[in-house]
Symmetry: D2
Subunit: 261 residues, 4 copies
């Protein structure tokens, strides 16, 4: 069975900016989904901000293995309820791949617990991505570096938590560096951030970028059963203790009462 | 100069529950602050839920090096604006020590980005805390383990992000284990979670617990200047690039325009 | 294609100790290999200390995806050259699963760079392993804990480097805890340490232990091409620099000369 | 009391290469020690390869809080016994700062358990070091980046274990990047690798480099008592178990017998 993947696109600049519309006439999300579908292990569809529930109703999320997220112009337009819904699915085991300007998306900031801020410059400069973790599955088939000739610069410090592993680091023509590929696990959900993808450049038409995204979907996919218990705070009654114990001292809660939240 | 420390207490059960009031007649926060003040390197005061702005106005937080947080009965009563204010100060470099049932506090969940859920049992059972990272400053002077004779059980899985380092692991009489001391860094802020401290037991009157908290305050203290830039997403103009580059290709933003958030 | 797995056994106590011989009449390595072969994704064979080159000639290692290592009585008898050979294969991408008393094996200490010491007690006591990372593939299908009724105790502090992820923590009847499942990556090689497996108890005949080992082999397997470059320190000549630069200042090395090692 | 620091220098090129001798007439180790002694919190002396026991007899190491290591031309000349002696002191709590070409020193490879290989180019090119962890004490007072105008290039992949934290990343004029400041803990010992410092350039005469090294010594210093138990594998007899247990089943060891190593 192919990995059920949804590419979420904000889909604003494709509709309002002539340059972006020319590069991505079907929308960036569609271009990305096509690139993923070139890998038979992946079955990708799209969702956009403008759809009902931003295209992410609970039933659809429940049947999504990996979600990719691209947003930029209007992060604030994403409904908080949908953000919480996505966060819950990540904790339960859905993979999440956050792209480029998605660093400031509500869902990424929600899962990182930090500002996720960075330096930037929009000058169409050369970006070279170096593989710093060649054993990592997301680096498969990429050689030791690859170039994106025209890109926006993102520079450190990128205020995210120390990652589980750093996979890529970018060199920029103007003198900056950036940790361009990083992984985290939150609950049972694998999270990958991938830096490139400014909408005024044809980044998502390039082969190494396709390869990274295909690798990332396969890495982020967690085949284990949904981890619903991640939300639970179950009481273990004294008479169900694994080792026999006798209750001692005072207590706040009556037997069977739920804990405070 | 002593480390300016604030012990935040929810201060509800001390007022409403006879058992808790007897163990902590001045409130748990006061007992903890006294224990910290026994170390001359620390200067601790208290703040409570009931005070204006929960005792944490911006000016006070700006002059706080380390904040300890104990809450249980009414996490929901903490104002969201105060939570964001505290989170900002942590990213800027204020240390945060979260105690026991504070695992479900808004501020801890906000900074972890996960549910922070766990198993529990209120049976006054024996807890033994093992030092698993004897080189860590928070373990200083504790030997290889110490016992709290009467405690609430917390059991894994504790749904928090993989820590920077695991310092303590608890053994419980009823058969469970728990990662009782863990560290994270978020922005410039050092965060420590310490498990023991159920309000119906005299945990905060015990010497090894005092030692842990004193150690933790000293570890969490970041003497560096406030890291205000953690929130910023500055544009680096092309003519200010560190290496000379020439602008190429189209762009979204006008010179001097702020980025989207 | 099944994962080519080799189970290495020291095979001494099976030959010299009646109790061990009765529990593992074919040797512990054979019992483990059979358990692995029950999973069709795995193809396991065995190797022992007594064979030529300890059963690990270069050609065999080159065709091994994952190696399991059990040793106890005579770690010193393992040839240093074979240890280096195995270490090299791990860095190049071979998975390594170190079992129980293998914590003091030359290969584990070599790859960890630490003493790998711990407390112990041989009393046939109850061990309960808790899953602390339910999203991790090695925890698949195990529930939240499982019991080994008779085991040797290993207690913290276990002097290994902070792991990439802690998967299991053990509770012992006599009051200790231990991080019983931990992961590391070294070069392209995935490493997993799994605590249980004292030779005087039937641990490797138990279903949950089989499940852990099967999961671990699949997790440790790195399908990427052998990462030979992990050993290399290539010079990048000035005229092959990716960005044009001009040589400046003095240098130690002549063009084409190798670096010092 | 000042932090007792020893700067170890290989001291070969200073004696044999005219360029190096002119830049560092007293030896690189002396230049570095002087820079450290400019900070009153540090008391630095030197040791070299040519001295008896390479200047590192046990008694001196026992009174050393932090050791810095610079070597390049003849790593192989360092006695294996001294390497083990230093490793032991690191596990027991001595800090270690490894400089530049020390990446291939025996002691660094011993503690990392990996090849520690990298790309290189000797062209006097510009290196710019970016702070990626501004909350880290080693980054104190450095701004967001600093430049070393003439340096050797080191490029990824650098085959070391994933660090505890990445502090600096270097940008090179010729197109490469490198994780130039990384931390690890091994036992109770804090380890920091710092990239710059090729002997044909005046790197160790530069103010930001002095600042990094002073910060690093203070960070690496572990004031806790020597952690001798890191090497021990003590048996805990059944009658000394913290919780009462009864011995069951067979055992290998007689009471009081040491475990196998």
């Amino acid at each position: 069975m192919a990995i059920r993947t949804v590419v979420w696109g904000e889909n604003i600049h494709e509709q309002t900016n002539k340059i972006v519309a020319e590069i991505y006439p079907e929308g960036m999300h569609t271009t990305i989904a096509k690139a993923l579908n070139a890998d038979t292990a992946i079955s990708a569809t799209t969702a956009t901000l403008q759809e009902a529930e931003h295209g992410l109703p609970q039933l659809r999320l429940d049947e999504t293995d990996v979600l990719l997220w691209w947003g930029h112009k209007d992060h604030g337009a994403v409904d908080n309820e949908i953000v919480e819904r996505v966060a819950k699915r990540v904790w339960e085991g859905m993979g999440l791949i956050v792209l480029h300007s998605g660093h400031f998306s509500k869902i990424f900031k929600r899962l990182m617990g930090t500002p996720c801020a960075l330096k930037w410059r929009e000058a169409g400069e050369r970006e070279r991505l170096w593989v710093v973790n060649p054993g990592h599955p997301i680096a498969q088939g990429l050689g030791d570096n690859f170039v994106i000739e025209y890109e926006e610069m993102y520079g450190e410090h990128f205020s995210v938590p120390e990652p589980l592993e750093t996979v890529f680091i970018s060199w920029f023509q103007g003198g900056e560096v950036f940790r361009s590929g990083m992984t985290w696990r939150r609950g049972a959900g694998n999270i990958f951030y991938f830096r490139p993808g400014h909408e005024t450049y044809p980044t998502y038409h390039q082969a190494p970028v396709h390869k990274v995204l295909q690798n990332a979907v396969k890495w982020a996919y967690n085949p284990m059963p949904t981890y619903k218990a991640v939300h639970d705070a179950p009481n273990v009654p004294v008479d169900k203790a694994l080792e026999p114990i006798t209750e001692r001292g005072p207590r706040l809660h009556q037997a069977g009462e739920a804990g405070y939240r």
